[in-house]
Amino acid sequence: MIPHILSLCIWIPIAGGVGILMAGNDDRAQLARVLALAFSVATFLLTLPLYIGFDAGTAAMQFVERYRWIPSFNIHYHLGIDGISLPLILLTSFTGMLVVLAGWRVIQRRVAQYFGAFLIMEGLMIGVFSSLDAILFYVFWEAMLIPMFLIIGIWGGPNRIYATIKFFLYTFLGSVLMLVALLYLYFQAHTFEISALYSLKIGMREQVLLFIAFLLAFAVKIPMWPVHTWLPDAHVEAPTGGSVVLAAIMLKMGGYGFLRFSLPILPDASRELSGLMIALSLIAIVYIGFVALVQDDMKKLIAYSSIAHMGFVTLGVFIFSRLGAEGAITQMVSHGFVSGALFLCVGVLYDRLHSRQISDYGGVASRMPVFAAFMMLFAMANAALPGTSGFVGEFLVILGAFKANAWYGIIAATSLITGAAYTLWMYKRVIFGTASSPKVQALKDITLREGLVLGLLAVAVLGIGVWPRPLLHVMHQSVAHLVRQAAASKLG
């Protein structure tokens, strides 16, 4: 086994990103691209041994590294993964590769800075998913805002400055209260070790307050209705790569936070407030689904569809069953592939026509048949068609919801209709029909590079859809352990 493999997964992309930043100006753009690809592929290859060497028979943390960092506050550099974080790390490194490929030709301005920022962000995101010390987690969690702020602000659309400042302040505001909550926990447990916080006895009133502080951080990030408004703005203005990372990984950090912090540390408050959480999730699923239906901007539509899909994640988390939690994690991974793929599809169209308005398109299929086939697959996955990854997650969550309360299941299941409606209607308006506008008639089909990116994603979507066992297998023990933790009372 490779020693310090988690540290390598975090620091190799960051070191690569810094190195690319040093590579400097646009005269050496090609060098920056090649280096970025090399580093992102290397990171992906490095995360593979994590999966191969992972022992699925235990819920304990694996690949643990632990060093003293700030002894005065008992803060450690403590890394490790379990079955919940492993799929998300793989998702991150996989997406990192695709983002580099997707930005290959599109980004022509400040190329080195673009790829540098993405690689640094990739390392930080892997750090979020593998931190076992609360402050280390917080550092990675917040540090990621800086590259994203720059990516939206520099390479974004016309209204990018408003969008990026809103994004930054919104998520920053959400997170700072989590810091106070962590500090409060520190003075109860005298450590920032997450595992030590699991066994801490906390009174009900404190639990509820702490839960709200964590909720603000995670709900903004995931995002839940009604604190979701930053997401459509950020998505619309972000460059394609930024949208992909936002949708595929950053949103998952919110769900991961619920699983890693809220449920095991504050089980009583989580159960107490689960009604509220489920209500908010169902509102997101139903109401945001309808909001998505009326969008005329493709990116905005996918952004709203992301919020609705994240509703399934929070629903799955707060029904406190193995089915629900496994469904939530599967949904996170699947949504990472599907929404990432859809944003890439919109990016492909946008690069050619410089418009995201649905009405500017129509009849794309006649000019770009290969592209239309790929997009068909991802649209079906977004609508949770059986055989695609989208189905597995939603099915598990709905099944769990039915077991918890039939009404939850029924309301959540309406998304199968609305989801199909907004996705397929958009698909119909963009892809089918006659190619009336001359711009559409001049479209060229996808290049080999674009085909490679979409092809890899298609394999992932179909793979999990047809044979989800390799994914579910690694998380069984960890999820079972989590559900036991969430069921136990910590009132003391």
Partner: protein, 476 residues
Amino acid sequence: MNFMPALPLIFLFGSTCAILLIGLYVGERRTSVVYVLSQVALITTVALVIRDAQAAPIVALHGMFVRDRLADLLDIAICLLVVAVFVYSRRYLSDRDMYRTEYFVLALFGVVGMMVINSAAHFLSLYLGLELMALSLYAMVAFQRDSARATEAAMKYFVLGALASGMLLYGMSMLYGVTGSLSIAKVASTISAMPPGNIVLVFGLVFVIVGLLFKIGAVPFHMWIPDVYDGAPTVVTLYIGTAPKVAALALILRLLVGGLQALSPSWREMLVIAAFLSMGVGNVVAISQTNLKRMLAYSAIAHMGFALLGLAAGGREGYADALFYLLIYSVMSLGAFGLVALLSGPGREIEYIDDLKGLSQRNPWIAFLMLLLMFAMAGVPPTAGFYAKLAVIQAAVDAHLIWLAVAAVLFSVVGAYYYLRVVKVMYFDAPEDDRPFVLPLDGKFLFGLNGLSMLLLTPWIGTIIAFCHSAIQGLP
């Protein structure tokens, strides 16, 4: 009498006098000699401090002077900060026909004053050091003789500063009236032996606090900060915004923690209010500033609020956290003002935030370092500014001031907005003119070190905090 503990101080004072004389002889043409000598004097002072750094406190000079870890740490920090200030200001001064002996000599006398404060064990020596520092600062603000703005700023600073010194002195006289002693240690032991609730003591304490809050620039005694920061020549602002802040903390630690620890329930309450107001007013008012120096001035007020948070939390941990916060802040402030001074070339004054437009396209490396400094000031991880905020906020949580901790993090979000605006201007806006920024090599190198320290300190944050803790341990 044993003069040895005061050797670094005596050395710096002697060499400053010598530099003043040498400056007279070498004339205005060769100020570089003075520059080099000043730097050598400061670095030698640091070496002398390190040479006989003391673990146990030594009181010398008839109980006027104390040499302990705290004094050593603060002396070193102040001398190094001023070395950096000199490097940053050299070209700014020579571009503006201000490259004269007086700037360096006044700054060095200011350092002597600060070192006296750091080591004060007696109200008299404390006040002496404070006035030596303050008089040097007044003169430095007025250094640009033909600038009406600088003169106005100096007048405001002088009048308000003298008033604050008067308050402080009046408070000390009341403490003397009650305790019958001017020695800080004796005052401390007398007060702790007295029954609580002595009204004259509290009255004196209020005056002392007013004077201290003025010196550190905390709300509601902050009015002078924006005017002085804005009116003074940038290199003087650079000086005022760094080293004297450290000395002001020394003043508070010596007076309140060293002398009036027995009254800490009273003064902690006052500091809680001042901390809350400073964070609030500083951060909110900074939003509406378009002038970069004024914005940084209000940000300084807000940062002092955060430092007071640590002091208000109380306990040795809280004081150490405040010290850590202030050290990190002084490095950030050094970098931010240093950049303003460095970029202001001949015939160009960086005054407004918009003057930084498009910096990342013209000078990506410098813009990146400034970005680090801005995110550090906003307290965003992984920059050093985050750990500083973490330290003081955890001190507040430890002292059960959770509402204040929540207020602090919310104000830091407000603050993030205006730091982000600087980043926005540098990175997202297009440059307005294409005159290149030419930076002197030494300044550029130092700024690189300064900016990167925000990231590179991360693995050693634990060591630095431990050092601050050990410095505070020496206090009685």
